[in-house]
Symmetry: C3
Subunit: 152 residues, 3 copies
């Protein structure tokens, strides 16, 4: 199925390309691998979901943050590739959850983004390897940061 | 030397394939690279070594946790490849140690897993690039999480 | 431009190859990808910039730490490749900043290393994908740790 039709069906509008937050490229391609820089739950470069899960933020808010990371990633990929249908598969997600002391359910949080990738690309193509981890602090106090590798 | 003979010589029995802890694939292959999802010191998906090194856990317990991460990784690879002898080399380990404040000996902890890979695959084939880092919290309060890249 | 001429122009002398801090290879090559193990702001394996940014360390000191990570990385690459001119491009940086509670400007810290790579290799070749994250503890209490992927 066409990815853009699927996005329409899911009533998802891709956000504008997030501004760069430092000295890096949003995407770097080597052969068939696309390395996408770490994405956060930001809009126009400003955090929209900030604070630690298990503290100021619930798991559900963390999952929404992970969804926003994926949407920013797809915006970046759309601009890089010109056509999201060129994505052959998700290769790997490395997801960090800003975690209050004693919060240990990071995989459930990152699932928010992983599920969205499956919804858009389908179970096989949308699922890759993954690590989900906690950290004490993230840039701009964002709740989640995810970096991605895709295959084209 | 045959990897399974080596495992027998080292009196190592591969654990059963760990259950999935979220929405991801245990292994994703692209060309000759195998990306293995983050593994923990778990049995049947339950943590067997939990708590922070430098706090509730000693360095030796952390090293044992790193060994268990590697064993789960090998179980996953065995199921994916059908034959561990197909592994050409270890490419990279990214290892996180759940660290109490002031604990700064993460490389010694991750060495527990790195040494096991060398024992099984030999010095050259079993050694790849590596980063060892601390973090405040990991899923299920596990003591160590390691993600892997292999070459086939 | 020749990389060594550029280093001379920038009055940069490559440090000696850092000693191994554990059981791993400094660089692992698979095809055209070079995976470089996590580097710190060390000299002869001893931390030269230690402590958390937002605590004992300023952003400027963190940026200098990131520069030292890059210099150690280039030393490692120089020894591996024999000639840094073989580097085709920077593919990805994964940078961790040892962060005091409430410090959330990790990208500015990692920029210290990213800028140096651009200065040496030029804007296009020296810039890859990147993630910048915080963590509570790093090996030897180093202020920054960066792992790298390069293309040859």
């Amino acid at each position: 199925m066409n990815v853009y039709d699927k996005l329409k069906e899911l009533q998802i509008e891709l956000p504008p390309h997030p501004p760069l937050g430092g000295i890096y490229k949003p995407v770097k391609q080597v052969g068939s691998l696309l390395f996408v820089s770490g994405q956060g739950p930001t809009k126009d470069g400003k955090p929209v979901i900030a604070g630690k899960v298990g503290g100021e933020r619930t798991i559900e808010e963390g999952q929404e943050a992970a969804r926003l990371c994926v949407l920013n990633c797809l915006s970046v990929l759309h601009h890089f590739l010109g056509d999201l249908n060129k994505v052959k598969s998700v290769v790997k997600l490395l997801g960090f959850v800003e975690s209050a002391p004693g919060f240990n359910r990071q995989p459930e949080v990152i699932n928010g983004g992983s599920q969205l990738l499956c919804d858009i690309f389908g179970e096989d193509r949308g699922k890759g390897a993954r690590s989900a981890l906690g950290t004490n602090e993230l840039p701009g106090d964002i709740t989640v940061e995810i970096e991605f590798i895709f295959e084209v």
